[in-house]
């Protein structure tokens, strides 16, 4: 049995395999992960909106031993991961980390949030820094404003959105 604690190290090996096949293969896997994670999240995100997101990540905060703060109000859910346990475990590892390990998070989270009808902006910050931040907004205008602010500060490579999934009516 691979312990649940070590899932992320196995995940990292899958990512490295897929990365060698090409970036489209990573994205295809993020879509699959989103599909599976929807089983645990989408109903609550649709039914309870931003509060549903807060409740889900509150459980994750506890179960995954995250050092994070998060909050929601009438317009936005905001999560700030001060120390990401997932990337921390992947870096405390005798095997090499996948260079784009962090990208899986906006890859699946963005899709599920889009399917619930919300606009996500995700700041990876840095791919070897176990911290990140994301926002889910009810309107595209608010999300665009956050996107412009973050891109100006960090550049496009580490700032991700889910706008494309909403535009193409992904689900």
């Amino acid at each position: 049995m691979i312990p649940s604690d070590h899932f992320v190290k196995f995940y990292n090996e899958i990512f490295k395999y897929l990365e060698r096949k090409g970036p489209q293969e990573l994205d295809r896997y993020y879509a699959r992960v989103a599909d599976r994670q929807a089983y645990f999240t989408l109903d609550a995100f649709k039914r309870y909106g931003l509060k549903g997101m807060y409740d889900y990540w509150e459980r994750i905060r506890i179960e995954e031993n995250c050092d994070m703060v998060h909050e929601y109000d009438g317009t936005c859910y905001h999560c700030r991961m001060r120390t990401c346990p997932s990337l921390s475990k992947v870096m405390d590892n005798d095997a090499e980390p996948c260079e784009r390990y962090c990208d899986h998070c906006p890859g699946w989270v963005g899709r599920v949030i889009a399917w619930a009808g919300y606009f996500m902006v995700y700041d990876i910050i840095g791919r070897t820094t176990p911290k990140c931040e994301f926002w889910a907004f009810g309107t595209r205008a608010e999300a665009e404003a956050k996107l412009h602010e973050l891109v100006a500060a960090r550049g496009e490579d580490v700032v991700k959105t889910n706008f494309a999934f909403i535009e193409k009516g992904d689900k």
Binding site: M1, P3, D5, F7, Y17, Y29, F40, A95
Partner: protein, 152 residues
């Protein structure tokens, strides 16, 4: 990297996110279904020999201590009903109630036996190039016996 006082390279602490058992199952299924059995074996061999480098290298050197410490630590941590008995040339891990299969059943996630397939391949990776083998026998819906023994 050196192992810690528990004799383990990685000794996780704190809460558990047991839904990761479903993620492991789905990751393994995804690899097999999209890239074939060899791809699944490749990622599990990378896991078994590189992630668990110290455990694997000890087995290659004829030392079973880290594997036994790892079985004991994570079976305890996941709340398994199990016993671990050392034998002259290896050990027998008897899992009466697998915590991963129990969790998947509780979550109504089918196909849990895929985790047993992944465990067999991971065990093979641990033992590759070593004097040991691990034979996994499924003894019930959620139970198994894994026998480590010297074959060389």
């Amino acid at each position: 990297m050196a192992v810690n006082a528990d004799g383990l390279r990685y000794a996780s602490v704190g809460e558990l996110h047991r839904d990761f058992h479903a993620s492991i199952l789905d990751g393994a299924n995804y690899m097999r279904d999209n890239y074939g059995e060899d791809a699944l074996r490749e990622v599990l061999f990378e896991t078994g020999t590189k992630v668990y480098k110290t455990l694997h290298e000890k087995l290659v050197a004829g030392d079973k201590s880290e594997l036994l410490a790892w079985w004991r630590y994570y079976m305890d941590r996941e709340g398994a009903d199990y016993s671990l008995d050392e034998t002259e040339d290896g050990a027998v891990l008897t899992v009466n109630q697998c915590p991963a299969l129990k969790h998947l059943e509780g979550r109504k996630i089918p196909g849990g036996k895929g985790l047993c397939v992944a465990t067999r391949i991971l065990n093979e990776a641990f033992c590759s190039g070593s004097p040991y083998e691990i034979v996994l026998e499924e003894t019930g819906e959620r139970s198994c016996r894994q026998t480590l023994r010297r074959v060389k």
